[in-house]
Symmetry: C2
């Protein structure tokens, strides 16, 4: 498979302040974005791709340069997080579609977030950054696309938190979204997921180096707490059988235990430490808090009175994909959405892919998602 | 149901040093214990009950007085942790059996552990406490019982880590154990469980107040990290449907979200904070680390070459109970043990109770465990 080639994250400043659900507004919002493929003359081939909690605008291709603000180190020169799905001949075929990917509002990879400078003070926002919602993320994406001269989307697609954004798009802008691709996502995080997210945030906020969120420029940041948050996240993204297949109970040292409390004994322990260390190098703790809170708040039934009332607004064709082993965003939630849409007489496809890698399947099971997504976008099975 | 009445935790000092798997030995081991019922003249009615990670010797009845060493505050005047199972007419019927319960080696509730004074230095052991194993716990229990004049046990029983001790007893002292009751336990923690335990330990050890384990007497202890460790543990002890039934996505404030990052919004978030706060008041962080490590190390197949080789030694009748919704100690492990014992021609019963509360079922599903345990102990269905 070829990639879209070397790409560069670009930046666009919104001309107007962005109003937010919490009642505040953000001045001077910058959006980091990438695009792949060619915009059709009548602008009818645009697909917006929305990323999940720890993603960024670099969804496909090979990153050319590090982005500027909000990160403590540059991008690795690496493939985009959904490169297997976006490119020539891939699920989101860039020979056909103009794919746009932005870093979400509140992010730390180029879009305005808590690590950005507050124009009112000249200092990073930190904990003074307004609390944002998935609807705010969509509002930001909408305002950004308007600057590109794009008012209508052929499709919005995303996994996990990205799928929430796709649903929100279809509800908030029904006549401007042709289709949504909602993968490993839900209309409301289930209570155990609420708990995992709360634990991750607790871990960050209990780290004294978090300093109430005002750690920028202090030379200290809550790496210890962020590391534990990432470990928790990581295990919830994998399935128990997937972990067993990958690591089993293999010891680091081979056959013998070393009788140590503080050093990793099992391979999975070492893996967790590695994951934590690499995450804290590239991600901002406050962005983690804000984004985790936004996905926890997301609740279509609460916002609209009922799931029926929320989905009644949808005009987009809907594709739902979930994975049998995903216990964080279980297939049941997709089925609920599908059932309600069907009951409302709206076009929906619901696919449950039998795969062992848990929530991470949406990033891994490219081969099996590709024909489903391609056919759906081409309206072959709708 | 009546209780065994007001009980007092007692203490016994072992006369000999205790050799350990790691090659070191512990001098001056004290054991905290309680007993319920009456020892038969020929001492043939003794059941040893073994507790899980966060338990203590106070298994039944109403605690009379707080224990002395190793805890930062006394026991609450409260029922024992398995009071529903131990008492007159209960599963472990104290009209029939003499039930003995000890705080495990490495504990913080009266038995020698990392918060105890090292006789060699006059200071608390802290991280100089030797790394212990489940076999060491059993060695300590064996030495303790010898001091009571008890060499043979009618049964050893426990849930979770307590069940591991029961299995270890049957393997290490086959001719001195008549029966074992192994509830919600396993012959080796599954890899996801290894990961959860590692995350909990990381959370404690990354707390700067842990101070490399030398926090005693400093006025600071790793409460923040311990709190997160307990939150992680708590969610793994419950099932996702159980959490959903108990909390759903109910907000603290009723109908409205308050747009706050740092305060609990959902009831389950508040519950987690409460659980964390109450746990750190009663439990020592180093004991958590050592005990978590011991249960992670437990691996009968690794220790004996194979599960068959390990269980070949067992002479005790074996009762296994697991719970359908327990994803930390899933029924599959009990089934494996049962299959191997059956294949070896040894007497075993395996019961899977269909119940929604996850691993915590072993503490909650008393009514359904009671007839199974009673009949097994009376050899009615063996």
């Amino acid at each position: 498979m070829t990639t879209v080639g070397v790409v560069k994250t670009r930046f666009l400043d919104l001309p107007e302040p962005l109003p937010l659900d919490c009642g505040r507004e953000l001045r001077s919002v910058r959006v980091a974005y990438e695009t792949y493929g060619t915009l059709a003359p009548d602008r009818d081939n645009v697909i917006l791709v929305c990323h999940a909690l720890s993603g960024d605008a670099h969804a496909a291709g090979i990153a050319a340069v590090p982005p500027q603000e909000g990160t403590r180190e540059g991008f690795e020169k690496s493939l985009g997080w959904w490169d297997g799905m976006i490119g020539p001949g891939k699920a989101f075929d860039t020979d056909r579609w103009f794919v746009v990917s932005t870093n979400l509002l509140g992010g730390c990879r180029g879009t305005t977030g808590p690590s950005s400078i507050d124009p009112a003070t000249g200092e990073p926002y930190g904990p003074d950054f307004p609390v944002i919602t998935v609807a705010d993320m969509v509002r930001c994406e909408r305002a950004f696309l308007a600057q590109l001269g794009i008012d209508r989307l052929a499709a919005v697609a995303g996994g996990s938190l990205g799928g929430m954004q796709a649903l929100q798009w279809a509800i908030d802008h029904p006549s401007d979204v042709g289709a949504i691709v909602v993968i490993a996502s839900t209309h409301a995080l289930q209570p155990q997921g609420v708990a995992w997210n709360a634990i991750a945030r607790e871990s960050i906020q209990r780290d004294p180096d978090w300093q109430g969120g005002r750690y920028y420029g202090t030379g200290r940041s809550p790496d210890a707490g962020m590391g534990v948050a990432r470990m928790v996240g990581h295990i919830t993204y994998l399935s128990a059988p997937g972990l067993a297949a990958k690591f089993g109970r293999r010891l680091q040292s081979g056959a013998d235990i070393r009788y140590t409390i503080s050093e990793p004994e099992y391979e999975v322990e070492n893996y967790l430490r590695h994951q934590a260390a690499s995450f804290v190098r590239r991600f901002d703790a406050n962005t983690y808090l804000y984004t985790s809170r936004a996905l926890t708040y997301f609740d279509l039934a609460r916002d609209h009175g009922s799931l029926e009332a929320a989905l009644e607004k949808v005009q987009a064709r809907t594709l739902l994909i979930s994975f049998s082993s995903d216990w964080l965003y279980p297939p049941a939630a997709s089925r609920e959405i599908a059932d309600v849409l069907t009951g409302l007489g709206k076009p929906v496809q619901n696919h449950v892919i039998d795969a062992p890698y848990g929530h991470d399947c949406f990033l891994l099971e490219e081969a099996r998602q590709t024909p489903i997504v391609r056919d759906f976008l081409e309206e072959k099975n709708s």
